[in-house]
């Protein structure tokens, strides 16, 4: 818990809520007994999240740390408030006018085909009528984003991402969030071709090589390639994980991180499964078949930490150099730098709500002052960084800044 306090230091003292937080940090000694441990940790985290959300400007640095650390953002209610801040989206902005009827969009038919058979993505036991309403909304949100951004092309799997937002934040907010996400984190997947998606996947094997040359050698000999991880990356694991809570937890993580983080998580998953991989025949089919199915019982929280460690140890720009990848070719990456710069200075929802209706603009008080603090904070997760990772934190920061 002291770690949480440490995380909050960058902005914490500015907000009155800090006092409340401190109160939760000094429970009577008896309350610290282990059975109540997880509960009280969760309570402290909730308080910390609300503190970050309510401070003015919003403490995005703290919010990102909290989204990354164990359990992510905890509840859907928080996600509805925090996800927009992680993407610098003002949910009170009115949605743009549609330039054409959605049925006329070039990708409309494909979207309908995919959404109609996306039943598995909805909670089991949901009434058919209710699900059908949501499916209609899903088509609507997807195509509206596509119409709003003519340069974007729909890909199969995009619907797996959008449905996650729809189920958590509802139709209107999911439009603004997905609209932003699509021009940033997901941008490379939405070209006319998949060249830049391949480019992102090209980071996967070099990361594995760095972390475990033996496993990498085996995979290379099997010629398995990286397509087993394609659905992981382009759906942010929404297509491949059965447990909706795990998916949400990962979305918290990815929304707070660099667009390549899903690839680092893929590396962490493969590394975790080393023994399984080495036990199968060294052949594309066997290795692909094994890896493409993610077991339900993987220790997701540990893998999140592992992915963070890998990111710090083998940062993208270094991997790019080694693997002769063109780092800046990625729009997702270059746009992310821009987003990073704009995250600070967001106003809390209470203020935004008050400002709603007035001439816009002030919500983005956007100080572009050094965002070094934000960036360090993202990786200064208490348990999240091993000693080796700390040693290279500085060089990673040079990249960030």
């Amino acid at each position: 818990m002291s770690a949480k306090r440490r995380q909050r230091t960058p902005n914490g003292k500015k907000t009155p809520v800090t006092t409340d937080l401190n109160a939760t940090y000094t429970p009577p000694p008896t309350a610290a007994k282990s059975p109540q441990g997880p509960e009280s940790a969760k309570k402290a985290k909730l308080t910390a999240i609300y503190a970050a959300l309510n401070s003015d400007p919003v403490d995005v640095a703290a919010l990102r740390k909290l989204a990354i650390s164990r359990g992510g953002l905890l509840t859907d209610e928080i996600r509805r408030k925090a996800w927009p801040k992680l993407l610098n989206v003002n949910v009170f902005d009115p949605p743009p006018k549609l330039k054409m009827p959605i049925e006329e969009h070039r990708d409309y038919n494909q979207v309908v085909l995919d959404v109609n058979r996306s039943l598995k993505r909805f909670p089991p036991g949901m009434q058919d009528e209710q699900r059908e309403v949501l499916q209609d909304q899903l088509v609507d949100v997807i195509v509206r984003v596509l119409i709003n951004n003519d340069q974007l092309h729909y890909y199969q799997g995009y619907h797996d991402i959008v449905v996650t937002f729809l189920l958590v934040v509802g139709k209107e907010k999911s439009f603004s969030l997905v609209d932003k996400l699509s021009t940033h984190h997901l941008r490379d997947f939405m070209d006319r071709t998949m060249d830049r998606t391949k480019h992102m996947l090209n980071y996967l094997l070099p990361i594995i090589r760095k972390a475990n040359p033996k496993l990498h050698d085996f995979m290379e000999r099997s010629e398995v390639g990286y397509v087993f991880a394609l659905a992981w990356l382009i759906t942010w694991y929404g297509h491949v994980l059965n447990d909706f809570h795990s998916i949400l937890r990962l979305y918290d993580f990815f929304l707070a991180c660099h667009p390549l983080m899903p690839v680092y998580l893929a590396a962490a998953i493969v590394l975790e499964r080393e023994a399984d991989v080495l036990a199968v025949e060294c052949d594309m089919a066997f290795v692909h078949s094994l890896l493409s199915r993610i077991p339900d019982n993987l220790p997701m929280e540990e893998l999140v930490i592992k992915a963070g460690d890998l990111f710090v140890q083998y940062p993208p720009h270094e991997m790019a150099k080694e693997a002769q990848l063109q780092y800046n070719k990625s729009s997702a990456i270059t746009k992310h730098k821009e987003l990073e710069g704009n995250l600070r200075g967001q106003r809390p929802d209470t203020v935004l709500r008050r400002l709603q209706g007035q001439a816009g603009g002030q919500a983005q008080a956007g100080s572009k002052q050094s965002n070094r603090v934000v960036k360090v904070a993202v990786w200064a997760i208490s348990a999240g960084i091993g000693a080796a990772a700390l040693a290279v934190l500085n060089s990673a920061m040079e990249f960030w800044v």
Binding site: R117, S118, D160, C282, S289
Partner: protein
């Protein structure tokens, strides 16, 4: 000479659990939502997904089958003869995404070393039938030999009232392209046998097809990943022997 070959390989007839089963890679292609995933699930017999979803990239499924085949066998009195045995085969099915963007960049990898192709269209949707020439071109572009066994499947026949691609026109197309033609309803459980037929027809074609034999020694040795092809070779030798000199072999019996 032939027995010598057998002995050199140190193997007799294969048994179904033999790790040296012959492996055939089959790629399943066709437009989005024609039922490729349903079809392969139905054949592979595992748990049938009530809710199939869009395939992203490539999915892999497999099924071990045995088919009758002739093989050269050494009998205890050092004589050798032909006998009928069950040949274990593993059919590896690569179920692909239908969306164009995937086939243009992600799926190509899976055309390599493919032994057979299944083209699927939806009998209720003309456009999926009209796309077939594009899919055939796609195979040609990936330099699949024209001899590579191919099968045409018109799926979703359970929706008879919405059928727009008549059996006649599809049959004509399949004849012109020299491939067997099947109509299926992968959604229906009772169609299992019919779907089995599709794949077993292919399995027989593969067994009989010389160009489908595992790669020759030097090629196989040049790549580690094809190591298993070396293990498969005894079967190839057996079958080659059968095909090459059936009368001689019969005489030897």
């Amino acid at each position: 000479m032939e027995p010598g070959k057998e002995q050199a390989n140190g193997r007799g007839a294969t048994d179904p659990n033999d790790k040296n089963r012959r492996i055939f890679k089959i790629i399943v292609i066709g437009d989005s939502n024609v039922g490729k995933t349903c079809l392969t699930y139905r054949f592979c017999g595992g748990e049938f997904p009530e809710k199939t979803e869009a395939t992203i990239g490539v999915d892999f499924r497999e099924k071990n089958v045995t088919i009758e085949g002739e093989t050269v066998k050494i009998n205890p009195i050092i004589k050798w003869h032909l006998s009928l045995v069950c040949l274990p085969l593993q059919l590896q099915l690569w179920d692909t995404a239908g969306q164009e963007r995937f086939r243009k960049s992600m799926v190509q990898h899976y055309y390599r070393n493919v032994h057979a192709v299944i083209f699927v269209y939806d009998v209720t949707k003309m456009s999926t039938f009209e796309s077939l020439p594009t899919w055939i071109d796609e195979c040609d572009r990936h330099s699949l030999s024209p001899d590579t066994p191919r099968v045409l499947v018109g799926n979703k026949c359970d929706m008879a009232d919405r059928k727009v691609v008549t059996s006649g026109i599809a049959q004509k197309f399949s004849d012109a392209n020299n491939m067997p033609f099947f109509e299926t309803a992968a959604k229906l459980e009772e169609e299992g046998d019919k779907i089995n037929n599709v794949f077993m027809t292919l399995a027989h074609k593969l067994r009989d097809h010389k160009s489908m034999m595992p790669p020759p020694f030097d090629e196989a040795d040049s790549r580690d990943s094809r190591g298993k092809s070396i293990k498969l070779r005894p079967n190839k030798a057996e079958l080659d022997g059968d095909d090459d000199q059936p009368s001689d072999s019969s005489c030897a019996c």
